[in-house]
Symmetry: C2
Amino acid sequence: MNVYQIMVDKRDGKKLTADQIEYIISGFSKNRIPDYQMAAFLMAVYLKGMDFEETSALTKSMLDSGMRMNFSRIQGAKIDKHSTGGVGDKISLVLAPLVAAAGALVPMISGRSLGHSGGTLDKLESIPGFRTQLSIDEFYQQIERIGVSMIGQTEAIAPADKKIYALRDTTATIESVPLITSSILCKKLAEGIDGLVLDIKVGQGAFMKTVTEARRLAESMIKTAAIHRLPMSVVLTAMDQPLGYAAGNWLEIQEAVSCLHGEGPSDVMEVTFALGAEMLLLAALATNRDEAVEKLSVLVRNGTAFIKFCEMVEAQGGDVDVLHHMQRYPSAKIVHPIIAENSGYVADLNALTVGQAVVRLGGGRQVIEDRIDHKAGVLLLCKRGDRVKSGDRLALLYTDREKVVDEVAALLSHAFTISNIQPENDHLILESITTEM
Amino acid sequence: MNVYQIMVDKRDGKKLTADQIEYIISGFSKNRIPDYQMAAFLMAVYLKGMDFEETSALTKSMLDSGMRMNFSRIQGAKIDKHSTGGVGDKISLVLAPLVAAAGALVPMISGRSLGHSGGTLDKLESIPGFRTQLSIDEFYQQIERIGVSMIGQTEAIAPADKKIYALRDTTATIESVPLITSSILCKKLAEGIDGLVLDIKVGQGAFMKTVTEARRLAESMIKTAAIHRLPMSVVLTAMDQPLGYAAGNWLEIQEAVSCLHGEGPSDVMEVTFALGAEMLLLAALATNRDEAVEKLSVLVRNGTAFIKFCEMVEAQGGDVDVLHHMQRYPSAKIVHPIIAENSGYVADLNALTVGQAVVRLGGGRQVIEDRIDHKAGVLLLCKRGDRVKSGDRLALLYTDREKVVDEVAALLSHAFTISNIQPENDHLILESITTEM
């Protein structure tokens, strides 16, 4: 077998065998195949695609490049959730402790912010002292003791994925259904979980701009997960405007805490309950969605979910005190308002623009090496459908970067479209699809 | 401008601007853009193509990466010939001195053998002492004094092409019309010539397997050359069986010398005269093809062409004596016959297989670092259409590699198809196309 022929076959649109895929992935993983050959191969995959068998083989090879966790000695259903990424998406922060409070085990491995998309790890690290790099043993022990732990990718899991992702990121081969599918699934399969809920974001602030594209990814994920015997539910959720009001790491922790206190924005709670219900169903902790949502609501109202969150933060070295006294957190040097120039309805609030504004303010990364200012971000004061008057404050910028304020304020003004016509209500939960196993 | 967007645009099938192409080529040439990004870009070009304006801009950027020769102080039309490569293709060895003898200047820059295709440089270097690496000044001076010089690619000309070609060779992106066009033309434009004859080989021993593919390349070459104001003629010639009887470096020098003595195989002479006529027409040294061919025939018959060849060999340090006394050349340790198992007509003689046999015998390269044994090769004793009897010798293998003889003999036997049915005569010159300037 040789890598050149594999490249030729994919370039010419042929179906690759599992052996061919294993050859190129393990060769690249072990540095026998150079970056440039993998880059050309990835572009060929991007343009020629892969069917479900190929995607499944790719997932397996990437999974096999590293270790698999084994939670079998811990009783209980281990369920994880993954989101394809959006703006203001703090769902994991609320969902993981909430579902753990309901009795499932949630061993969650999350990612970092990149580009306009926020990352759960960076949000958690805005809590002073919070450690996202636990040893595998610490992770096991915390799941056993508390039922939930949220950590970052470890080097031991799917190293091939890490290497391939870095290459995709610089070779315009990110938005490929088989490559996205295998990248997500190999890591989730390595967690040794019993079920996965996938939140595919759809809209102008998401990877997938249309429901059609999102359905294609959903189908690929479900079929590939089924081949690997991982039960899965997929929920398509809207990502046209940011979720909630906060975008930026510490601002989102504040909003997540509000949610856990039962005082969160209705859109964040709607998505949290929709995804949480799927997780409880996969864990067999509820028999239908209504029952599941009711169970979760109670756990928010009676404070159990917030307590679980605090247990997790404490177990991972975070300062729980600041969660009880948010005002003690250092505040950004500059808090700058965005003022409405017209009166009318907020007809559109562009999530992508808000995400880009957060990056400019210091709250995100343009490249993976950028340092993050956890205080920086955007707090929206209105959302789509709200009525505003000329002179009203639409949003607040939080930043220490004096020089960027004017530029970001101008950018963010363009995120709002004010119109005389009241926009129709849009649906947040677009579709749910569950694997038949 | 950024390289990522250029990759996205080509990946999505968009037309690139000349500025975008210049950005990526000069960036890669100056090591600002890494191999892996260029590799993904080349695969996108392979799969999405480029139109003539893009191909022209690509050619210009590659040309601009190095120096341009300037022959303007030397009176006379400078005409070159380029072939897309075949088996037994020793045409340049005969053609360059012949056309120079007719009064044109022939500053020819040639390539090396790779894979089943022979290379003019390696053939010339089988002449003891022959130097293919002259300085630019030596090259100018030899053209002025003798009218012909045949050298290898210099580092100073189109370095971007050299770097890109090496990458294409390992990333399955060789057979792309815009990439082939720009690679050939940038080097030929750098020669500062007044006209170019392109010999596009078509058939099982060539890059282009069908006339349709060859026409596509011809159209791309002609349109791109026209944008760069380079007059050009394209001739499509058959490459199903090897040209002539000799394949292998010194064996081909011997055959070329026979041609220059007027004793060459008819197919080699037919292609030589066809291409030579186009060169004389471009140089305005003949007014029509018949006149041109007559002129060239005379120069062979009266020995002028051979004298010109010897002048060139001597000027470039080669041993002219051995050209007059071929038997003094060291001979291969093993000369092994291929025997016909059946009687009948040679219905097919596969050039690709013969080319591969030469490589195995030591006369070519599998990778660019391989060393070449100039004595090694295949001498055919019959060609397509010839009648053979069982037990006849079909060909002779020349090699020092005792171990490969049986394997190569078996391989080469398969190159011959013996049939009871006499094959139809096939045409050698398939089409000629000339630029209207």
